[in-house]
Amino acid sequence: MIKRLIHRLLWAVMILWGATVITFIIAHAVPADPARVYAGANADAETIARIRLEMRLDDPLIVQYTRYLGKLIQGDLGTSLVTNERVLDAIILRFPTTAALSISAVILWLLLSIPLGVLTSIYQGRFIDRTVLFIGLIAISLPVFWLARMLQYYLAYRTGLFPVAGYVNWTHIILPAITLAIVTTGYYARLVHTNMLEVLNQEFVRVARAKGLSEWRVLFKHVLRNALIPVVTILGLDVAALLGGVVFTENVFALPGLGTLALQSVFNLDVPMIMGVVLFSATLVVCSNIIVDFIYQWIDPRIESE
């Protein structure tokens, strides 16, 4: 177990290092000068040149990257070229909003998708199954930025049921969470449905029924638990991706989360901030992968022996 954990952690470090290299290269491949963006459209060439020098953007890329990596090893993600904000502080400041949104959305879509998945597997091919499939397919196909804008327009602007945008209190999270839940519930309901059907056909279920267990007990204690194993894997990755920043949803609803920070950093060509947000997101994905691996073993002890 410990050997496996160490092995996974070493791989995680390699993956994160790879993420810094790729992000650094991409950020510098953009044909635009951060000093020019900082100085503004009206600044003259000499001013831009002096600012480049102060920002140490004239150093060779390898020197800039080595400097970045050196600081990173000491836990310093650097300072924003644009706002002068410490990158780590900016991430810590915005993470709670993203976390609140992500967790609310996950709770909402699990509360909807698991019962729907169970229900549709019990009544496979019946009216309820087809309806859930039909609505789910539509929901999955909706672009999140469009859905967010529509919900904002009808449920916030026209009816006033929710705040239009901003983040003053928890009520500002509801509509963005509903947006994310809508586009994801259909997918998860289908996932639970498929896995339930697969497990329902296995021998141990027939044995459980033959032993005289109630259908309720068979479904929820034996079938659902096994059906949720693949769901946990995908949920782990999805949660990590959400926590890394829900770019479109946060932007439409003007939530001060990591997604908004990432987008603004890209527009400002703020390389340290872009690197920081990407590295943070990558860390979340890598960590969640490791955690999911171990949860997997907890749900199904056969996996470790395999």
Binding site: A45, T83, N84, Y154
Partner: protein
């Protein structure tokens, strides 16, 4: 049977949706949601980069900086300069020395009195390379500025404070527009002790002499300004607070405005978002809340005069004649006026007799023929991808040029890439560009954008790389004389040559539209400071 159930379910869903939608009112009745105080509520799309006057340099942040800081001089409503924190000023006969007498009653919001050495420090700080001020270029005409920037001197020798109430600036060359430079927020006075305390975080914790002070800034969330008790003219300020929501685009802000949550729909230069503009202007209830101001700005297409085929004057003239500017104005919902030259109508030196180029495809074809492009040519126009107005204009230009045999491909890029690429020598043949004034003087357009001696290989502001010796000489002669009428005459002469040689397609001068609530009073637009929060107040009828 099953299909019946499905049909009934769909019917129920559609009925429910209709019920929800029909419960909505068609016209939003804006009500002020917060009745409590005299608080101005607005929204900005993102955090200001900094509230440090030496750093901030955009149309959204400058009006905010103005609420915290003040400078020596400012503009009145007719764009005349008047002493603000200076009591008076004099300029020497040779135009190289400016002497300011300071008012004795001005204090920073930390309670300390402003003295002349504060101004020496403020301008030196802008020129200090470690400040990374985007405005440093405006102050390099001060004696000793370059030596200071290059690390050859500890102080800028042309900045002097012989006593606490006298501030002297010595210039290397006579420079009439330098007074305008001093009215820019870069030159607003800052307290040395606060900067030494906060370091580069001064922009986060600013202390100035303006009517308000920053009481709260939660990044990504809110900015709050409160009335400054130490302000030297408390009677002139009617607002108690300014509260600024951070985040959301113009469409979100428009929704919030219509729900009464904001007092101004959008404080960006667009004013009213494109998709809402026609609806607002057709709705009498909203239309009466709109204030309009012609901006001292120009939107144009730059032709690179160093790259074929635009190195030929006849080709450039042909392109100008081929484009229907009236149609472009209609396409942007009449949010601007046709440009016949470089200078906007609100700019001193504007030449109303300039005729520009009429829409004449036949003449365009003839000019192309004379230039040796009988069958036209193929080129591409660089536009900003995220800007829907530029896309519309690009498509219109594409259609117009097709009629005279020029095949145009649109090349959408990000704003940052566009400005970078255009400023590189011999890189972009044809691109969109816009210029908003820094100050109301023709030099800020003609000299900055079209003086061939200012061309640089990278980051050139002269993006058409236009270089005419006669024009260069006229611009440099105008820059160093102090007789305003003669200066304006020289600028007009230069502009006539420029228009005749057509390095640009002169498109339009945009208007600004401010949509504000009926209860917001004191909004008085002018081309330099379209929005002045410190002059506003809330008053319910």
């Amino acid at each position: 049977m099953r299909s019946n159930h499905l049909y009934i379910l769909h019917l129920v869903i559609i009925t429910l949706a209709c019920c929800i939608l029909s419960s909505c009112s068609d016209g939003m009745q804006a009500n002020r949601l917060y009745e409590d105080k005299n608080i101005l509520r607005i929204a900005v799309p993102s955090d200001p980069r900094s509230l440090d006057p030496a750093i901030a340099y955009d149309v959204v942040t400058w009006p905010l900086v103005r609420t915290i800081f003040h400078g020596l001089i400012d503009y009145d409503d007719d764009l005349n300069l008047f002493p603000w924190q200076a009591e008076s000023w004099t300029i020497s006969d040779d135009g190289r020395t400016l002497i300011f007498k300071l008012r004795p009653d001005v204090r920073f919001s930390n309670g300390r009195k402003v003295i002349a050495p504060d101004y020496v420090y403020t301008l030196e700080r802008i020129l200090d390379p470690t400040t990374k001020s985007p405005g440093q270029g405006f102050f390099r005409n001060i004696v000793g500025a370059r030596a200071f920037q290059d690390g050859m001197a500890d102080h800028v020798s042309g900045l002097k404070a012989p006593d606490d109430e006298t501030f002297i600036i010595e210039l290397s060359q006579p420079d009439l527009p330098f007074l305008y430079v001093l009215a820019m927020p870069f030159a607003y006075v800052v307290p040395r002790e606060e900067i030494e305390k906060e370091g580069s975080d001064f922009g986060r914790y600013p202390v100035g002499t303006g009517p308000f002070f920053l009481s709260d800034w939660r990044r990504g969330l809110i900015l709050r300004f409160k009335r400054n008790p130490d302000f030297n003219n408390p009677a002139g300020i009617k607002l108690d607070e300014i509260e600024i929501m951070i985040g959301g685009d113009a469409t979100v802000h428009m929704m919030m405005f219509e729900r009464g949550e904001l007092d101004i729909a959008s404080v960006t230069s667009s004013g009213i978002p494109d998709p809402d503009f026609i609806r607002v202007m057709k709705n009498p209830n909203l239309r009466r809340l709109v204030a309009t101001q012609s901006l001292n700005a120009l939107f144009y297409l730059s032709m690179n005069t160093e790259m074929p085929p635009f190195d030929q004057v006849k080709v450039r003239k042909a392109v100008n004649h081929a484009i229907d500017r009236d149609r472009i104005i209609r396409l942007i919902s009449d949010r601007g006026v046709v440009a016949n030259g470089v200078l906007p109508p609100g700019m001193p030196g504007f030449n109303e007799h300039l005729k520009g180029y009429d829409f004449n495809p036949e003449k365009a074809r003839q000019l192309l023929l004379e230039a040796g492009y009988k069958d036209g040519f193929k080129t591409e126009l660089m536009i900003v991808a995220q800007n829907s107005t530029e896309t519309k204009i690009g498509q219109a230009v594409q259609q117009d040029l097709e009629r005279v045999g020029i095949t145009l491909e649109l090349k959408p890029v990000t704003g940052a890439t566009r400005i970078e690429a255009l400023g590189h020598r011999k890189t972009v043949p044809f691109g969109t560009f816009g210029w908003y004034q820094d100050y109301p003087d023709p030099s800020n357009f003609l000299d900055v954008l079209l003086n061939g001696r200012r061309i640089t290989d990278i980051n050139s502001n002269n993006v058409s790389f236009y270089n005419n010796e006669k024009v260069n000489s006229l611009l440099e002669e105008a820059a160093f004389i102090t007789d305003q009428n003669r200066r304006l005459g020289l600028y007009q002469e230069a502009e006539e040559i420029i228009v005749d040689e057509a390095p640009w397609v002169f498109l339009y001068h945009p208007n600004m539209y401010i949509l504000r609530q009926a209860w917001l009073k004191g909004l008085k637009l002018n081309p330099v400071w379209p929005i002045r929060y410190e002059k506003m107040w809330i008053e319910k009828d």
